[in-house]
Amino acid sequence: MKIKDILEDLKCVTVHVNPERDCEITRGFTGDLLSFVMGSSPDGALWVTIQNHVNVAAVALLKEIPLVLLASGRSPSPDLREQCLKEGIALATVEMDSFDLCGVLHGMGIRNRAE
């Protein structure tokens, strides 16, 4: 799915940074411990997290993550928003918690493993 379509289909979303280029996403990952995400996330996946520290942008850049979804209504720290803007990483807050959000994304066909 395209990033814009994912953001449109999700309910109660606040977009902080729009995607620089609207790429296709097929894979997803969830995690809040950044060293774990760095070690385990597939490249190019969308990322569901409640972590709103500026280092999220650095990890996203490292794993070529084009879209970060902050679950449970968490707002990004101002420096995270700024960094995502600078690096062209799409960033949005979703009211749902990580569990429900991953369920919805799974329903859209996003998977952790490549099929």
């Binding site: 950044l34 060293s35 774990f36 760095m38 972590q51 280092n55």
Partner: protein, 266 residues
């Protein structure tokens, strides 16, 4: 300048996860046996017992720094050390106001006992101390500096409660005075972690939860004029010849050690 051995991370019976042998005079007795010159008392989110240990140390030759091991909103542990018990207590008030009002369940988590210098029980601490406060690690570090204290990222080598595990890396501009590596690491493991510290001061501690954890081979050697908070602060800043030495054996050649005027490592 003299060589001292310091251990800046020791718990007491106030920490629910610590053994009941971590009484005030007991810790000092163990430090004397192990030739540990300087310690910091750092219970979880509280400095209440550090005053008791400091009193118990009077006349013993062991220098006690008052502090606490603060747990951030992201579950990162930061050691915060202060020049005196009063400033530690003031900082603790700031922490306390931001701790969730969850009560300790001693049968589940362990006892949280406030003691005096003779191990007399003053009271049991009601609010659970092992929980994240409502402030980020970065905010805690900033606040400790404003309050006249030093901050140290605790056990960055661990898979939990560590800045690196939670936040992936240490930002270059993070104004933390030092990072702590676990006393149980080998020299090679410690060197690997050192590479991730961005050239910051590295200390080794015991993170003692029971008396037998306190030992000379889990300390950090430091060159100071005298054992005091101010001197440690100067060593962290590399001022006037004060310095933190690499705990896992000196990486300098004997000639460099000689030229820099340091005593050979014990």
């Amino acid at each position: 300048m003299e060589l001292f051995h310091m251990d800046l991370h020791i718990h007491t019976v106030l920490s629910p996860c610590a053994e009941l042998d971590m009484g005030a005079p007991d810790i000092i007795r163990r430090c004397i046996e192990e030739h540990v010159d300087i310690i910091a008392i750092t219970d979880h989110n509280s400095s209440r017992n550090s005053r008791a240990v400091k009193k118990a140390a009077e006349g013993s030759g062991v220098e006690v720094i008052c502090g606490l091991e603060v747990q951030s909103a992201e579950d990162i542990h930061v050691l915060c050390l202060f020049p005196d018990p009063e400033r530690a207590a003031l900082f603790e008030e700031w922490v306390k106001e931001r701790l969730p009002r969850i009560l300790n369940r001693p049968e589940k988590f362990g006892d949280q006992i406030e003691i005096d210098e003779k191990n007399n029980i003053i009271r049991e601490h009601e609010i659970l101390l092992v929980q994240g406060m409502n402030a980020t690690a970065d905010e805690i570090i900033e606040r400790a500096a404003v309050a006249g204290g030093l901050s140290i990222l605790a056990h960055i080598d661990r898979p939990v409660y560590s800045y690196i595990a939670v936040l992936g890396m240490i930002p270059g501009d993070l104004k933390v005075d030092a990072v702590e590596l676990s006393g149980c690491l080998s020299g090679d493991e410690a060197l690997e972690w050192k590479a991730k510290t961005g050239g910051r001061n590295v200390i080794r501690t015991s993170d003692a939860h029971r008396l037998m954890d306190i030992s000379l081979d889990r300390t950090t050697p430091v060159m100071l004029e005298r054992p005091s908070f101010r001197e440690i602060e100067m060593a962290f800043k590399g001022e006037s010849g004060r310095k933190i030495l690499w705990p896992w054996g000196d990486l300098r050649t004997p000639m460099e050690i000689y030229q820099e005027g340091d005593l050979p490592m014990k």
